[in-house]
């Protein structure tokens, strides 16, 4: 029994190993890397992950405190449960159920968050494009039982090229799976497919079944929680443009206009909605794009009270109100309650186009809910009224045109002043009507639901008041102003809003008092000086500057208070006249030169004045580094100076360093004396002394103020913090630095805007994102109003100055790989670029090694090419996508997005060429010269191409020399070698291609059937429709190539050349054989039959040869004769020629004689 066991290992080894660990006095394991490779890999991976998280830092311009609602778009093919999902979510968030979903629904979802749900029409590509541009979050619905459908894929691709919003997948219809295993498998399949489309690990929700017309509560709860905590990155396009999704629209055209001029007139339409993106400018006439309608100018914008404020905002309002109450001495209602959950009261919903419970008032209309809360047994149904009130309402509903409306108008006109009553022309009517409507809405609005949410004076009123004041002097947008004024007045009368302050006098002149504080100040001073009529006003330069009816010189005089006051009170018109009447005098010329920037040099006083003024530099001492300053006495008397020094203490360390290094010129004495702003070490103690005078509190206060000041200063003042080049700045990475800079700038923006009065703020900033506005457009097409369908989103996008211009856009474009066909140049393509959707005719090009842009007939199969098209310009780096058809009826089952691309460059013109090959054939060849025919048809054409490079097919290069005189269009050309007569000559040239200036906006919202917009058809479609054949050039047809076998003679090298050739190039020939071969040695003797035949043949040949000779001789003779004849003829011809020449020259000579005799003075002159 031989059993070999493993040898026993001794225990002691382990002990030694452990001992070894403690070699250097400490545990080696504790201070060394156990697995360096793994560690390195881990580090690599973690840094990789971290880097991938980084994005190019971008400023987020959404306001922090009251952001606009998040737009949640629910997208999916028909029958995937979009409506059900919205209903479930709305029910979950607001406890109210909707029966129908029309237009955006805004709900409050959290303390500081609102959501706007929008259902994207499933079968409309246009709406999908628009929704992809504005949605912050997309709930991508898919039928889990079916899988992905074309719409889903299309939407994902659209979204990707408009800045990719966040996408949450929602798979429904999962209850239709019978077995658990198939459910699991298909879930997994769906998920992975979704991941490849969006990103790895993208969230996909599964909703199982529908209970009571809603999805299961638990699943919806999860989904809503997920939505409410979601964070969003700023998207570039939306961060640069203001935009708005219309909650509702109202046609506010004057009904009388409609009556008198018919329904076909352009309408005045108001859009309502929350502003998103950047601030919308408050200047009237801003251009915006209404997707699906076109470009329009805003007639006016107005901020309305938020119909759906967040609890946070409400709380702030409450606090504000409470404070005000306190100020007024009214007992407070108690401390604010802090809530963790939303009250039911706060769970607001705003969906003016859908049927939400409750009555809703707005400026232009009143909404009455006609359904009950649970959605069944609707009231206000004509014929089924449930009471007297309902009857009244239904009868009103049935009335075509209520008398009350006109009645209302009259009543309010009575209310306003008499002048307006008399103004009977159309415009005034229009205005007054608007006022009526406005005031009407206002009047009722105060008593409406919304009232409790408005503190003291609503934002709107405030704005209105401001607007009214500011625009008085402008006087161009009367409509707007009047409107405002009336509102304001009404407010004053109706509610006596109790602001405590009286209204400013309603002057139409330009004298305004600056801002609020100053206003108050001036009034108080004015009251002091009541006795004297001559009271002094303080002018705000900020306002004066922009009063166009005040000349700048007067502005300055008034501001500086130089002028007499009575002139101040003068009417603006007078002044204007004054100004203009002066104009033709010499004085104006002088002043004109003075205020003209054409004159670069600023105005200076005369030499003498300057000399006397600058006899000493006291006034600019503070501006000069290291100069002496008159010290002790000055300082002690001035209290304010001390403050400044304290400032100086904080001032700038950098300055000090620099000064020390550069302060070489400064003499020591002055240095000691100076108590300049800069901190000098020697003065530290001195300042200390001064500081002792202040109490600690005061000092602290000062320091705090200074700190605050410093906080808002930027890099230049900040010192070290933002120095990019400085390695010692407090930021580790460039990324952090940029982030910090942006944060700082935003902070400054906020602080600066905060410090302005609301009026100024509006002017400087415009309408902020998040504000609920009413945007009025004049002259929208009537089709928009008539064919309005709330199911289709209406989007207004602001346009930057570049986007208003039209030109050539050069873009990089690629056919979408799922699109079935390649795209053809000059075939119409609907592009979705920026806010716009438009049809244009792109020309596809490629760049021939950057020397030229060559036209391509078709896009390449799989790679990018360039495309140039005419259209509205858009800043480079904007991505876009193109579709060929948007109409549903033209849609096949295929993927519709045909191209995707990015704008590379914009320009007014572009140079595109296509290749043009001209072909000719030689007909006479000399050594290197050949005459070419068939390339041109006239000598002039040849002249155009003189010197052009040509080439034979075999590759011999040449040049066009000169046109031949005789056969028109033939020319002489030289080549680098002798060409063959059978060669084809090719001239390669480039022919410019012009872009067709075709721009056709997709006006889908103007149609009755929104998804049936048809623009220009593709060439192929037109041909198919008209049953035309594609024209073909027979030359272009592919035929079987038949080539004649060519015979080339062997190369013969003259022996003289052969001799001189180098050995290597010599032709090696075998020597002639010297020895006779076997066969040669043997003689062949003829005999018999063969000999006979041979001799016979010989005889025959001899005879024929003799005959031939005879013939030849005869011919020779004939030829001689002929030559003689020809020579004779030639002689005669020469003779004739001579005569002709003689005659010609004799005539010509005489002419010249005449010329010489007639104008010899002229010829002299010519020389």
């Amino acid at each position: 029994m031989d059993q070999s066991n493993k040898e026993h290992r001794k225990k002691s080894e382990k002990a030694t190993a452990k001992k070894k660990l403690h070699t250097q006095g400490h545990n080696a394991k504790a201070f060394a890397v156990a697995a360096p490779g793994k560690m390195a890999r881990n580090m690599l991976r973690s840094s990789d992950v971290n880097e991938r998280k980084l994005h190019v830092p971008m400023v987020d311009r959404t306001p922090e405190d009251d952001p606009p609602p998040v737009i949640v778009a629910v997208v999916g093919p028909p029958g995937t449960g979009k409506t059900t999902l919205i209903k479930s979510l709305v029910r979950r968030m607001t406890k109210s159920s909707l029966t129908e979903i029309n237009g955006p629904i805004t709900v409050v979802s959290g303390k500081r968050r609102r959501l706007t749900f929008i259902e994207c029409p499933a079968d409309d590509l246009n709406s999908m494009i628009d929704v992809a541009k504005v949605a912050d979050l997309v709930l991508l619905m898919m039928d889990g039982n079916f899988g992905f459908e074309m719409e889903t894929m299309e939407f994902l691709n659209l979204a990707q090229h408009h800045g990719m919003p966040r996408v949450l997948g929602v798979a429904t219809h999962l209850d239709l799976f019978k077995s658990q295993s198939t459910l699991r498998a298909s879930k997994k399949r769906l998920k992975h497919r979704f991941w490849t489309e969006v990103y790895q690990g993208a969230k996909l929700f599964y909703l199982s079944g529908v209970i009571n017309g809603r999805y299961p509560d638990r699943e919806i709860l999860n989904l809503s929680r997920f939505i409410s905590v979601m964070k969003f990155r700023p998207l570039k396009w939306r961060n640069e443009h203001p935009y708005l999704m219309a909650d509702r629209i109202t046609d506010i055209t004057h009904p009388e206009l409609l009556e008198t001029q018919g329904k076909q007139i352009d309408r005045k339409v108001a859009l309502y909605g929350y502003l998103h993106g950047t601030a919308l400018t408050s200047v009237a006439g801003a251009r915006v794009h209404l997707a699906g309608i076109g470009d329009y100018s805003i007639s006016h914008v107005e901020k309305l009270p938020d119909p759906c404020p967040t609890p946070y905002f409400q709380q702030k309002q409450e606090e504000y109100e409470r404070e005000r109450m306190k100020e007024e001495g009214v007992a407070g209602t108690g401390a604010p309650r802090r809530r963790k959950r939303l009250d039911d009261k706060q769970k607001l919903i705003y969906a003016p186009m859908s049927d939400v419970g409750g009555v809703l008032m707005d400026k232009d209309a009143v909404f009455i809910d006609v359904g009950t809360k649970n959605g069944e047994g609707a009231s206000f149904v004509p014929g089924e009224e449930k009471g007297e009130g309902e009857k009244l309402v239904t009868s009103l509903q049935s009335a075509e045109k209520s008398i009350g409306e006109s009645f209302n108008g009259v009543g309010l006109q009575l209310f306003s002043n008499g002048q307006e009553l008399h103004a009977a022309d159309e415009v005034a009517d229009d205005l007054s009507d608007e006022e009526n409507e406005a005031s009407n809405g206002k009047n009722v609005g105060r008593k409406s639901l919304r009232k409790p949410r408005i503190y003291g004076k609503s934002v709107q009123e405030d704005d209105a008041e401001i607007d009214g004041l500011a625009s008085d002097d402008e006087g161009d947008n009367d409509a707007f102003d009047d409107d405002e004024d009336h509102q304001r007045r009404l407010v004053e009368i109706d509610f006596n809003s109790g602001k405590g302050e009286s209204i400013e006098p309603q002057t139409d002149s330009e004298f305004e008092l600056s801002d609020h504080e100053e206003d108050v100040w001036s009034r108080s001073t004015a009251s002091k000086l009541q006795g004297t009529k001559n009271r002094r006003r303080k002018w705000d330069i900020g306002k004066l500057i922009y009063m166009d009816n005040v000349s700048p010189s007067t502005c300055i005089k008034r501001w500086r208070g130089v002028e007499d006051d009575d002139e101040n009170d003068e009417n603006a018109d007078d002044e204007e006249e004054d100004f203009f009447s002066k104009k033709d005098g010499a004085i104006t010329n002088k002043s004109e030169a003075d205020d003209d920037l054409e004159k670069f040099k600023p105005h200076f006083e005369t030499f003498k004045n300057l000399m006397s003024k600058w006899s000493n530099f006291d006034s600019i001492k503070s501006r000069l580094v290291g100069t002496s300053r008159p010290t002790s006495t000055n300082k002690e008397t001035e209290g304010g100076d001390g403050d400044e020094e304290v400032y100086g203490d904080f001032e700038d360390l950098e300055e000090e360093e620099g000064q020390e290094s550069a302060g070489d010129d400064v003499d020591e004495d002055s240095k000691q004396d100076s108590d300049d702003n800069d901190s000098e070490k020697s003065f530290a103690d001195f300042e200390e002394e001064e500081k002792l005078d202040l109490t600690v509190e005061q000092e602290r206060e000062q320091n705090a103020a200074k700190k605050e000041n410093m906080r808002l200063q930027f890099e230049m003042e900040e010192g070290e913090n933002f120095k990019e080049d400085d390695p010692n700045n407090e930021f580790d990475t460039w990324y952090e630095l940029q982030k910090a800079k942006m944060a700082k700038q935003l902070e400054i923006n906020a602080a600066e805007l905060e410090s302005m009065t609301p009026e100024q703020r509006q002017k400087i900033e415009g309408f902020r994102a998040g504000s609920y506005v009413r945007v009025v457009f004049d002259g929208l097409p009537m089709e928009f109003v008539e064919n309005f369908d709330p199911k289709y989103p209406v989007i207004m996008g602001g346009l930057l100055p570049t986007e208003l211009k039209f030109g050539i856009v050069k873009a990089r474009i690629r056919r979408h790989r799922w699109h079935k066909k390649i795209l053809k140049t000059n075939d119409p393509l609907v592009l979705s670029l920026g806010w716009r959707r438009f049809q244009t005719l792109p020309i596809y090009t490629t760049s021939d090694s950057r020397t030229r842009n060559r036209m391509l007939k078709y896009t390449p199969e799989h790679s990018y090419c360039s495309a140039s098209f005419y259209g509205p310009l858009c800043s480079p780096n904007t991505t876009f996508c193109g579709v060929q058809v948007v109409a549903n009826s033209d849609t096949t089952g295929n993927f519709r997005i045909s191209a995707t691309g990015i704008v590379e460059e914009i320009d007014a013109t572009v140079e595109i060429v296509k290749k043009l090959k001209l072909v000719g054939y030689p007909y006479k060849i000399f050594r290197n010269t050949a005459f070419i025919k068939d390339m041109f048809s006239s000598a002039m054409e040849v002249a155009r191409f003189e010197g052009a490079q040509i080439k034979t097919v075999s590759g011999i290069r040449g040049e066009i020399k000169r046109a031949l005189s005789k056969p028109e269009g033939h020319f002489r050309a030289t080549f680098e070698d002798k060409i063959l007569l059978s060669d084809t000559i090719i001239l390669r040239s480039w022919y410019p291609v012009h872009i067709k200036k075709f721009y056709n906006p997709v006006t889908s919202l103007l149609l009755q059937n929104k998804s049936e917009w048809k623009g220009l058809r593709l060439t192929g479609q037109i041909r198919a429709a008209m049953n035309l054949e594609t024209p073909t050039n027979p030359d272009s047809a592919y035929k079987k190539v038949e080539r004649v076998e060519r015979h080339f003679n062997g190369l013969k090298i003259p022996s003289s050349i052969q001799k001189t050739l180098p050995f290597k190039s010599q032709i090696h020939q075998m020597k002639p054989q010297k020895k006779k071969t076997y066969m040669a040695k043997r003689a062949v003797v003829l005999g018999g039959e063969e000999k006979k035949s041979r001799s016979f043949m010989q005889k025959v040949f001899t005879i024929s040869n003799a005959k031939d000779e005879k013939k030849k001789a005869k011919k020779q003779d004939e030829r001689k004769e002929r030559l003689k004849k020809l020579a004779k003829l030639e002689e005669i011809k020469i003779e004739k020629d001579k005569e002709r020449k003689k005659k010609y020259f004799s005539e010509n000579g005489r002419k010249r004689q005449h010329a010489d005799a007639g104008g010899d003075s002229g010829s002299h002159k010519r020389r």
Partner: protein, 364 residues
Amino acid sequence: MSTPRFATFQGCRNFRLLIVLATLSGKPIRVEKIRSDDLNPGLRDHEVSFLRLMEAMTNGSSIEISYTGTTVIYRPGIITGGSYTHQCPPGKPVGYYVEPMLYLAPFSKKKFSVIFRGVTASHQDAGLEAIKWGLMPIMEKFGVRECALHTLKRGSPPLGGGEVHLVVDSLIAQPITMHALESPQISSIRGVAYSTRVSPSMVNRMIDGARKVLKNVGCEVDITADVWRGDNSGKSPGWGITLVAESKKGWRYFSEGIGDAGDVPEDIGALIAYELLEEISKSAVVGRSQLALAIVFMVIGKEDIGRLRITKSQIDEKFIWLLRYIKQIFGTEVFLKPVDDADSDDLIATIKGVGFTNTNKKIA
């Protein structure tokens, strides 16, 4: 696409500025009544020449001048830049043409490299040193780093014969948002006195005159002599001086002047020195002649708020016209508020940029 609406302006005031602002904003403008009640109505030679220059530096812009020359319609195109040589008519010096180019050059498609030929100095318009040391540092503050004006030849009025080369190599997307809240301290005064075709002693006398005035200023004064001889000195005799006060952070104030026949060089030197002091006293962060450039660059900045300190005396008629024109074209207003410092009556001009970006530039 609707017909473009013009912003309409009256008179020839700020003509170049209007054209520049229109080009930057892309808005078509109409200037009416240009010297309509003058004996010689309509556009002058130099203005037409300027329009030509604009046409050369842009692509797709259209200029319509009425028959009498009193009305101009300008539809701006795209700023393209590139190389060009401009012959300036003798009425105005090259500075007249270079100055507006500074507004446009950083926002063009290609790098600017323009040679201007003509007179290089005058009493009214920007001189070469004023541009080089006065305006270009302002541009540098806004992020335009690589810009230079090379003097190839000097040409004094009336005959000129000078040649300058404007090179702007940095094409920026948008100017940096400015925050200049403190009046900078002047650390040194520099200058250059030049002469063409006259005795170099004139230069030295000018320097003496200026030095005498600036003797007690206390900071370093360094004025260099720049005497031009031979072919490069143009066709006419002339001399002038430019003084620049500079701060450590790169802000500059300047004054300049040229001498006429019969002027005493010392007086000119002294006058310019006094004017420099006056300019310093009247300006906060930028001088009066730099203000327009700074304000325009702030207006076309990012949609952030920029701040610039100005003095009360800087608010003059020119300034008001500038702001009014900016408002008319860009729709932006400047907000002025006093500094929170009891001692000074300076103001802070707060401007929110219009969010302009250089869309002319090609990507990659």
